[in-house]
Symmetry: C2
Subunit: 258 residues, 2 copies
DNA sequence: CGCTTACTTGAGAGACTTCAAGAGTTGTGG
DNA sequence: CCACAACTCTTGAAGTCTCTCAAGTAAGCG
């Protein structure tokens, strides 16, 4: 449960940059090094010379800032948000070890969202222009990056499916998504800590904080989850999945087509 | 109004493949050739040797099909959809001239959505492996492609902001988005034809067909739009934008931050 | 230990959905 | 070329879900 926790005695002045080696990174299997050869990992090592520590609530980059770096999460958790049409911030995603940040900035040359640390975290800085040169030299590296970009598109599409889901379904989706991502990283997908506030969850899912609270309470009462503050245990993941697959009166058959 | 209309006498047997020249394509400014040099456009020409015609309702590719090509829309309109957690298809986007299709397939090597033509349309086929080789040779081409991928991420994020919007706001967003994309392409952003059914609009926005119908009716009654079947004219785009920027009792100031 | 922040819980209001029916379009075959 | 069938869209009424408003409790931080 206390897996990915990072204890910082100080919160303000934190060492800024230290050398890093991808091939030994705990996040390597979820990150750019995944699936590429030793030679290309060495290339990454030279590229990713520095990492950056962030205290909780510290901003990694702000919307509209000029784009220069992409970032890979080493440990900790971050959230991205961008103003909606009303100017209110809307959470667009949560990020954990191995995931890439800043990809949405390539298009316009400026960051499309603001990203802050949900807890003390560390990210690798990858200068984008040098990264481009490396990709130009290494086809596998380029392919790996394209896959990462494509993956991000698919993830956004998944989030898009929330549109006509009920509150319970949306919350179940988030819990199962987090669970799967922890499991992918070798952590428990059954017990984990919700790094974000109820407000962030609600904002991300398009629900109010009160609805989140009530839904979590309902899930707890149904014994689908156990809950203690932000510690959560999925007692019956199957029921959560069932929430999604079967609608009232509908079989869970996957018939697509328009 | 009849701008992008394509008349096909026959609907079943359609010529499948013809040579194409990017530098003369009407969609070039919205497509891959945009912003790259003449030399690289020639490179694209050699790459994009063939195009494919689609009759209305014809499937371009299906979810889970092996990924081999990306596609660029020459003319016409298409929609992508993927099954939601209930197995019902959910529209993930509408595509028009110059836009790229199939980007979400790079990650898994299989298409993540099913894409069909909303009307008679034509797309360019770009063999992905050969495209990769070209990008490996040409840095500008690679950069252009990264921008396209990043753009797609931003677009998905925009759609994601729908989460806590009212039905009226969602519909206004779609109408203004379509309007802007037509304007970008040199067509009227004020009068255009809705290529998709009310059902598709509702599905995309997470609303029922009845809600779409009622909302369009309300917009018409308020004289914000004129409507005749699927022909629409934005009589007062400012009011539609106002719907989005100012919430009941809220100034439209853009204060971000968590 | 007191204040701020995070979360929980309750009651009423509003928005969208669901169910149901009807009108308008489009396409096809006689 | 018209008539019927299928499909798309519109409109109405009741129901449900989530939001809004309002306290109140618990936890974290100085």
């Amino acid at each position: 449960m206390n897996d990915m926790t990072f204890h910082a005695e100080t919160r303000a002045p934190i060492p800024q940059s230290t050398a890093v080696i991808c091939s030994r990174c705990v996040a390597r299997n979820a990150c750019l090094p995944s699936g590429i050869g030793t030679l290309d990992i060495l290339r990454l090592d030279k590229l990713v010379g520095y990492r950056r520590r962030l205290a909780r609530d510290e901003v990694l980059f702000r919307k509209d800032q000029p784009f220069a770096m992409i970032y890979a999460v080493r440990f900790g958790h971050l959230k991205s948000s961008r103003p909606d049409h009303r100017g209110h911030p809307h959470v667009t995603g949560f990020y954990m070890a191995g995931e890439l940040l800043g990809l949405d900035a390539i298009y316009a040359g400026r960051h499309a969202c603001t990203t802050v640390a949900l807890e003390d975290s560390e990210v690798c800085e990858i200068p984008y222009s040098r990264f481009q040169e490396s990709m130009h030299e290494s086809l596998p590296l380029m392919q790996r990056f394209h896959a990462a970009l494509s993956h991000e598109i698919v993830r956004e599409q998944n989030a898009l499916l929330h549109a006509d889901m009920s509150g319970a379904e949306r919350l179940a989706t988030l819990l199962l998504d987090l669970s799967a991502r922890y499991a992918e990283r070798g952590y428990s997908g059954r017990r984990f800590r919700l790094r974000m506030s109820r407000a962030d969850m609600g904002n991300y899912l398009g629900l109010t904080i009160e609805s989140i609270s009530r839904l979590l309470g309902r899930f707890r009462d149904e014994h689908w989850i156990a809950l203690d503050k932000r510690e959560i245990e999925l007692l019956d993941p199957g029921r959560l999945e069932a929430l999604l697959s079967a609608a009232p009166g509908e079989p869970g058959v996957s018939h697509e087509e328009e």
